[in-house]
């Protein structure tokens, strides 16, 4: 019985790649393409690790993260923030909003795998 990861990412190809990498490692992977309803998806799935893109339609990744951190049950949820912008400012903003880890696109597959494993405490 593997652990659950939720990938919130609007680019279908990237979501598919992450899903493939993690599934091969034994994770159960769910994907969600939209920011506005992201919070509901998190509450429904109760994942062990959340992979969250910064630029999302509806609600930005930062705002989704703030909602998650404001929720008492989810305050401790490990979150990996992804961004394609790669500026230092974005990294700081993500940390302030409560991201556990920050990763710039494009990433190496191994890097992604180890980051998710590390967040799950494996």
């Amino acid at each position: 019985m593997g652990r659950q990861v939720l990938v919130i990412e609007d680019e279908p190809n990237i979501a598919e790649a992450i899903k493939f990498i993690l599934t091969r490692d034994g994770w159960r992977v769910a994907t969600h393409p939209d920011g506005a309803s992201a919070m509901a998806a998190v509450q429904r799935l109760q994942p062990d690790v959340l992979v969250l893109d910064l630029m999302l339609p509806g609600l930005s990744g930062l705002e989704v993260l703030r909602l998650i951190r404001a929720h008492p049950d989810l305050a401790e949820l490990p979150v990996l923030m992804l961004t394609a912008k790669g500026q230092e400012r974005d990294r700081q903003a993500a940390q302030q909003a409560g991201a556990n880890l920050f990763m710039t696109k494009p990433f190496a597959n191994a890097e992604m795998l180890s980051a998710v494993r590390g967040l799950a405490g494996l």
Partner: protein
């Protein structure tokens, strides 16, 4: 003279007039107004005062009543010589307030009240009806004269048939040239020019007949004087009351007649023309009246007993075998009649449509003013009104039997329109005049006129029984129509004039003193009475910010059409220091817009329409203070301050805009880099992840194929993005190589439609085009232009939200510039986003999946700048709309 020849000649003459009007209209359209708007044409057009009544009737009048006919010329002469006092003020007010008719003037002055507009319109139509009948009668009679004079057995034409043909022909001519377009100024260059030509024809005709009579039939002026002494005319005695009354009457009529108001005020293009007309028009009148007495005297002498003196101008040359001269006289009379009917019909139709049809239509659909094409409605109602006015005239002609002396009918009309005089003069000289006073005065005056003069004019026992005439209604003797209040033995005309004017003026003054004017009325009153002091700084009635500029634009387009409205809005926005088509809805702007619309649909209607969008007109305390403040110096000083302040505000606004733009630019630069980074890294992420997956091997063949496909697609996306970026940077630097050639616009649109059909091919998508208007050759870079078209059509295919998506492509060509509009039927783009969409990476929705990086419109904008044109969002359409403007022939920059 054969009757057929006569018909042919009149037809040829009408066609000639038609060509004159057409040529003048074409010339004016090309902007080459020149002499078309000169003092000479203006003065000649004023001669619509001289109708068939003057042309034929004056001689009859002289034969019956001696020199009394002179009064009809003396009144206008006095008014024109004294133009400085009344006419100048009327013209100035008319131009400043964009008055469309006399009904509009009164309604606008008295608080934009439509009630007054309706009253005045009804009076005008009632009063004009006998007058129009008179013109029909004179044309019919003159046809009859020729027919009966032919010895070789031409059957006398049926007068009913003749008159109905004449009425229908005049209606057609008037509709054709009077309602061709809904002009903001309500001026009709073509018609006015044709009228001026007719003025010359009638003058030449009268002079020719006169010379023939004086030197051909008599032995010069001396002989004529001797004959006058010998005739019964020498026995005639002047009646002072009738003279004064008639001079007053014709003076009033020359200002109040709707057709005179039309040529005098509405069609006036330059106030200075009035100075010329002030001496030239009396001169024209004098020339017209010069030979009246000689013709009358010689006619009475030579013509058989009992022949109609009204037709001497025609019958005298005819009886002497002067067929050609008679023909000229006939054309002169024909000119007099047609010019009057045409102008009167235009003036009355404007009133009916602006004060009766439009308000009624507005009341019927109070919710949304903007739906439906008001323009077509206004034009249609004018055309129908013209038909109706002529039909009324024809009906009166049939009813009254067409047998009375011409002059008598004309005077009845004069008394009717003179009822507007107190309200009009009071309105422009007396600030205390109120709507209540004007309404009561008008109603009372018209009632008296109707009862004491108009109804009895149908003849004994026609409408009012002979018994009632003699004993009064129900035997009340002081209500006898021609002896009101027991005043017996007065001339019926003077009697009606006297009582109607006394009661009218009395009620007007009393009502004005006893009632209290409303705020709008006060403001308008001050604007009218002080028209010369407060030039251009009219008080404003609108409060800021309630109206939406786009709603106003949509409404204006329904009335004035797209081009004029967009032009006006763009100019106003520029004056405020803003780019684009939408100015801020400041009180000043709304006020200007209201006046512009008033020029087309009248003050009351324009006011009502804007009220629906802008909320009620609020007259602020400051406005009232400004109105109350009589000290011209303070006004002037504050006007100057205001002007300076306006200038400062504009500069400040431009500075603020510039500053904002600079700040935005720096923010944009950061955002742009960040955006590029994002747009490049996103496809790269997929490519890297999947290529790593593929390198690791161990995958089923179909997965390999699928992931290979992803890599391929993302690589393509990357390339496209790089292409766009490079394209954009080349375009922005202006270092782009343009390949100019001559290409047909239709081919380019064809290519663009075909190329964009790959975008969302599964969607039903209809494109409406007008192939003939697209058929023109442009000298431009056809590939680049097609690229812009492809972009716009693809965008419509992608983003148009309608279920059955449609795109309209409209091409127009004007003065070397070509505009191509792309208008879809979706929800359009919200106003705050309309400027944004042309920025790089601007995507309104978060649907990144729609493809493209958001550079399309930015590229279009740069392409158009390179092609010497522009692309902009076109507000005020139903869906999203883009307008591409470019020169027909692009010259290569040296």
């Amino acid at each position: 003279m054969p009757f057929n020849l006569l018909v042919l000649a009149s037809l040829a003459y009408v066609i000639f007039l038609f060509l004159v009007a057409f040529a003048a209209e074409r010339r004016a359209e090309r902007g080459a107004v020149g002499w078309l708007r000169s003092p000479l044409i203006y003065t000649l057009s004023l001669s619509v005062y001289c109708t068939a009544w003057t042309f034929y009737g004056a001689v009859g009048y002289a034969a019956r009543s001696g020199l009394e006919y002179m009064t009809i010329y003396l009144g206008p002469t006095l008014v024109f010589v004294g133009w400085w006092w009344v006419l100048r003020k009327l013209v100035r007010i008319g131009r400043q307030q964009r008055v469309t008719s006399i009904a509009d003037l009164l309604s606008s002055r008295f608080g934009k009240s439509n009630l007054l507009g309706v009253i005045v319109t009804v009076i005008s139509v009632l009063a004009a009806t006998p007058y129009i009948a008179l013109q029909l009668q004179s044309v019919t009679l003159s046809f009859g004269v020729f027919a009966s004079a032919t010895p070789d057995g031409w059957a006398k034409p049926d007068s009913d048939v003749t008159s109905i043909w004449v009425a229908a022909g005049l209606a057609a001519f008037t509709i054709l040239f009077g309602t061709r377009n809904l002009d903001a100024n309500e001026q009709h260059t073509g018609v006015v020019t044709a009228i001026a030509v007719e003025a010359i024809v009638k003058l030449v005709a009268v002079l020719a007949v006169g010379c023939f009579v004086v030197w051909g039939l008599a032995d010069g002026p001396g002989d004529i004087l001797a004959r006058v002494d010998a005739s019964q005319m020498a026995e005639w005695h002047m009646q002072p009351s009738r003279w004064t009354g008639l001079i007053f009457l014709s003076a009033a009529a020359v200002i109040c007649l709707p057709r005179m108001f039309q040529v005098l005020v509405v069609e006036n293009s330059d106030e200075r023309h009035l100075a010329t007309a002030s001496w030239a028009f009396p001169l024209y009148l004098m020339a017209m009246s010069l030979f009246v007495v000689p013709i009358a005297v010689v006619g009475l002498e030579l013509m058989p007993e009992g022949s109609n003196p009204d037709l001497f101008v025609l019958t005298l040359p005819l009886s002497q075998g002067q067929g050609g001269l008679a023909m000229l006289a006939f054309l002169g009379g024909f000119s007099s009649a047609t010019s009057m009917v045409i102008i009167a019909a235009i003036a009355l139709a404007t009133m009916v449509s602006n004060h009766i049809v439009m308000p009624f239509w507005l009341r019927m659909r109070p919710a949304r003013v903007v739906s439906g094409d008001v323009r077509r409605l206004v034009l249609l109602s004018r055309r129908l009104s013209i038909g109706a006015v002529l039909a009324l005239g024809y009906a009166y002609f049939r009813l009254s039997g067409g047998s009375e002396a011409l002059a008598a009918i004309g005077l009845i009309s004069f008394v009717g329109v003179a009822q507007m005089l107190p309200a009009m003069i009071g309105g422009i000289f007396w600030r205390g005049a109120t709507r209540v006073g004007a309404a009561i005065g008008l109603t009372l005056g018209v009632s008296v006129w109707f009862y004491a003069l108009f109804l009895p004019s149908f003849g004994a026992d026609a409408v009012i029984s002979a018994r009632m005439m003699a004993e009064g209604p129900f035997g009340i003797s002081w209500l006898r129509p021609q002896a009101l209040f027991g005043v017996d033995g007065m001339d019926p005309l003077i009697h009606a004039l006297f009582w109607s004017m006394v009661l009218n003026t009395g009620a007007f003054c009393l009502g004005s003193i006893l009632s209290f004017p409303g705020p709008v009325e006060r403001v308008q009153g001050a604007a009218f009475v002080n028209v010369f002091d407060a030039e251009g700084t009219g008080p404003r009635g609108w409060s800021r910010g309630q109206a939406d500029a786009e709603d106003l634009l949509v409404m204006t387009q329904r009335i004035l059409g797209d081009d004029d409205s967009l032009g006006f809005f763009e100019a106003q926005a520029r004056a405020q220091g803003k780019a684009g088509y939408l100015p801020d809805p400041t009180p000043d702007f709304i006020d200007r817009l209201e006046r512009l619309l008033a020029g087309s649909v009248g003050a009351a209607t324009a006011h009502a329409m804007i009220s629906q969008l802008a909320g009620r007109a609020a007259v602020s305390v400051e406005d009232l203070m400004a109105v109350a403040n009589e000290a011209a110096q303070i006004m002037e000083y504050s006007a100057r301050l205001e002007e300076q302040q306006g200038e400062l505000t504009r500069t400040a606004r431009q500075l603020r805009d510039a500053n904002e733009k600079l700040t935005q630019l720096s923010v944009q630069k950061d955002a742009f880099l960040s955006q590029i980074s994002h747009e490049l890294r996103t496809p790269m992420t997929s490519i890297r992840a999947f290529s790593e997956i593929l390198t690791e091997g161990d995958l089923p063949a179909e997965m390999v194929a699928k992931y290979g496909g992803v890599i391929h697609a993302e690589a393509k996306r990357l390339t496209r993005l790089l292409d766009d970026l490079l394209d954009l940077s080349v375009l922005e630097n202006g270092s782009v190589q343009l390949n100019l050639d001559l290409t047909n616009l239709r081919d380019m649109i064809d290519r663009a439609v075909a190329a964009s059909s790959h975008t969302r091919p599964e969607r039903a998508f209809t494109i409406h085009r007008d192939l003939t208007s697209e058929d023109m050759f442009l000298r431009t870079d056809s590939d680049r232009l097609t690229q812009v078209f492809i972009n716009l059509i693809s965008n419509a295919r992608k983003y148009c939200t309608a279920d059955a998506a449609e795109l309209r492509i409209v091409v127009r060509h004007k003065a070397g510039r070509v505009t191509v509009d792309f208008i879809d039927n979706g929800t359009g783009i919200p106003k705050d986003k309309q400027d944004l969409i042309f920025e790089k990476f601007a995507r309104l929705t978060d649907q990144t999946r729609a493809g493209g990086a958001g550079l399309g419109l930015a590229i279009c904008r740069e392409v158009m700048a390179n092609l010497g044109g522009k692309i902009g969002y076109l507000p005020g359409q139903w869906g999203a709309a883009f307008r591409v403007t470019l020169p027909l022939r692009l010259e290569k920059a040296a």
